[in-house]
């Protein structure tokens, strides 16, 4: 009992150009099997390697799709007409392939009515749309630090509807943070940065799941912390953590929305992707310790992290939704004073120790050591080996009437804020030129904000023959804490 089968145009070359042929079988499955026996060329296009009908081969019995009948078991008889209808489909690689989360659209969470209202300005743009917003809802970003960069980044990510925002920090809100770390407010001073950040983010968007991690990021915990997140947002302010974040991102294959700030200049890029360069392709080695001042030493324009942090958040949103051109292989430099952006092309370095073709760094290392920073020796009970003096000892000796020359090696604008009475200002950079002004016979007390710069000045003076040089431990901050609390701290 032969059944008529209509052959679609692309398969007719295998049926002697006929648009209809006959085959035998009691069910659709038997019928198609018989068809491919009679016309062998059809087999590869109708069946997959496992011998199953391909998903894009649609079969109709008369006018009904067999999916809604009994599939391949659907009975057929002589009078029926069976049609093979090609399902024509295609497209570029899926958004899931391009966006970082790699989630099939069907698995994405739906938006509630409240969320539709909240995100309506996203939803009406086809580039984001409902699907993009669902990707954001399923997406997650881990902010390293709730400081200058992490503040604006996390706030905008929360507002944009990124479903999970993680924050890593272990600091406490200080008055000196408030000039730029806008996630924290004046009433938050003294609170943990994480508690303050969580309150603010939840106030902006209660739909966001805020995860807080009160730890110092380390080689021991970084991979575990990063693992559940789609994008890592590097808002760190020091080299060991920056290299650690970079290497962990490369090892896990997670994009790193990178930003950094110093004084009036900011930088941003996206590192750690498979196709693009990483931070080490740009800077294989950290600068010698002390060469590049931190924001605490060099200062930072308060609005600057707003610009850079929001650029990082923009990149995170683009990566999660899979839209636009990510800042991969490009290094953006922003000069706030000139109000100019420059862009450098970055190439992936094939010799990069982490992301190159033959990586030498295949697990996380000791980043303090890598950056030349040695862990502080345990504090001796009493000071000390004649290179340092504490604030209390200094006060006692001054009160005793000892003849001491205090050299403040900070910058003039810092000296303007607070100072030890009777100190002489010689900024660190001027010491090599001006040390001749000092008498090698005098006992010199070197002092700065916290003791780091003055320590370098003391080392220099000893190297040029000064014998009686002491560094004020903890700098003027300790002096104010322990001796003169009337002065302001910065």
């Amino acid at each position: 009992m032969a059944t008529k089968i209509l052959i679609p145009t692309p398969l007719r070359p295998y049926t002697d150009k006929k648009d209809a042929v006959e085959a035998d079988g009691a069910t659709v499955g038997e019928l198609i099997a018989d068809l491919t026996r009679r016309h062998a060329g059809l087999k590869a296009h109708l069946y997959n390697e496992q011998g199953k009908l391909r998903s894009f081969v649609n079969i109709y019995v008369n006018d009904d799709d067999i999916r809604y009948l009994q599939k391949e078991q659907t009975p057929v008889s002589a009078g029926d007409t069976v049609s093979i209808i090609p399902s024509v489909a295609g497209g570029t690689e899926s958004v899931a392939d391009r966006s970082v989360g790699v989630r099939p659209l069907a698995d994405l969470p739906q938006l509630t009515n409240d969320e539709v209202k909240r995100y309506s300005r996203h939803l009406i743009m086809p580039e984001v749309g409902v699907d993009g917003q669902r990707r954001l809802k399923a997406g997650s970003v881990l902010c390293i630090g709730a400081g200058g960069l992490g503040s604006p980044a996390a706030m905008y990510l929360a507002a944009a509807g990124v479903g999970t925002i993680g924050v890593v920090d272990f600091d406490v809100v200080d008055f000196s943070n408030l000039q730029r770390q806008i996630i924290h407010g004046t009433p938050d001073v003294g609170r943990s940065k994480l508690a303050s950040a969580k309150d603010r983010l939840t106030a902006i968007n209660p739909h966001v799941d805020v995860q807080t991690y009160e730890v110092a990021l380390s080689s021991e915990n970084a991979l575990k912390l990063f693992e559940p997140y789609d994008v890592i947002l590097d808002g760190t302010d020091n080299f060991p953590t920056r290299y650690l974040t970079n290497d962990a991102c490369v090892l896990l294959g997670k994009p790193n929305a990178y930003g950094s700030i110093f004084r009036f200049e900011g930088q941003a890029s996206v590192f750690g992707t498979k196709e693009g360069p990483c931070y080490r392709c740009l800077y294989p080695e950290p600068p010698p310790p002390g060469l590049v001042p931190s924001c605490a030493e060099g200062g930072v324009l308060g609005v600057l992290p707003g610009v850079i942090g929001v650029i990082q958040a923009t990149e995170a949103v683009k990566l999660i939704t899979g839209i636009g051109e990510p800042l991969i292989g490009r290094f953006l430099i922003y000069d706030a004073l000139k109000m100019r952006f420059r862009e450098l092309k970055l190439r992936k370095d094939p010799d990069c120790p982490v992301c190159g073709t033959h990586p030498t760094v295949t697990k996380l290392i000791d980043y303090e050591q890598f950056c030349g920073i040695h862990p502080a020796a345990p504090e001796p009970a009493t000071v000390n080996n004649a290179t340092e003096i504490t604030a209390v000892e200094l006060k006692q000796r001054l009160d005793r009437g000892d003849k001491l020359t205090i050299i403040d090696v900070r910058e003039p604008n810092e000296y303007q804020i607070n100072r030890i009475a009777g100190s002489t200002l010689i900024p660190l950079g001027d010491i090599p030129r001006r040390y001749a002004e000092l008498n090698p016979e005098d006992e010199l007390i070197m002092q700065c904000k916290s003791g780091a710069r003055s320590g370098r000045a003391a080392d220099f003076l000893r190297s040029v023959g000064f014998k009686r040089v002491l560094n004020l431990k903890g700098g003027i901050l300790d002096w104010i804490d322990k001796v003169d609390p009337t002065q302001p701290k910065y």
Binding site: P8, T9, P13, S83, V88, G90, E93, G129, D131
Partner: protein
């Protein structure tokens, strides 16, 4: 089928580009109609994908059957399908390959930032291993014979 030169008329070329620009940033799709390696008409079709039209297209079964019928009515046959790649090169993806049919011309137009750019044509190899790029020729030679205008629904 060795190398596959295929000709598109200027009207077909324009119709495919215009369709891609019209649906940007979503993918457009449509049928290619003609005979003897000359595409002389297009049948723009709705994209019924349920996987997100920015990266996917699908032609419904009903529209597929209509396209075969329409090709006959236009005096030609169904030669294949076209679709656009918004902000993506005019090269077939793995997804295109997985869903491809033999003996069909697959024309892809790249639409970058709303502007149609490269247009290419591809044929599935008989062993389904990959696509082979065909040669897309433009031209209105033999205009007297069969200049069917682009058909819009």
């Amino acid at each position: 089928m060795a190398d596959h030169p295929i000709t598109v008329t200027d009207a077909v070329d324009e119709a495919i580009r215009a369709h891609g620009q019209e649906t940007y940033p979503h993918e457009c799709c449509g049928a290619l109609v003609g005979a003897d390696g000359r595409i002389t008409a297009t049948v723009p079709l709705p994209n019924v994908t349920d996987e997100g039209p920015r990266r996917r297209f699908r032609v419904s079964d009903k529209d597929y059957m209509m396209s075969e019928r329409r090709a006959g009515e236009l005096g030609g046959e169904l030669l294949g399908f076209y679709h656009s790649h918004p902000d993506h090169p005019a090269r077939p993806s793995q997804y295109d390959l997985d869903h491809a049919w033999p003996n069909f011309a697959y024309v892809i137009v790249a639409v970058a930032a709303g502007r149609a750019g490269d247009m290419t044509v591809w044929w599935l190899k008989d062993d389904r291993s990959s696509f082979e790029e065909g040669e897309l020729q433009h031209g209105d030679e033999n205009t007297d014979s069969d200049t069917a205008p682009a058909v819009h629904r």
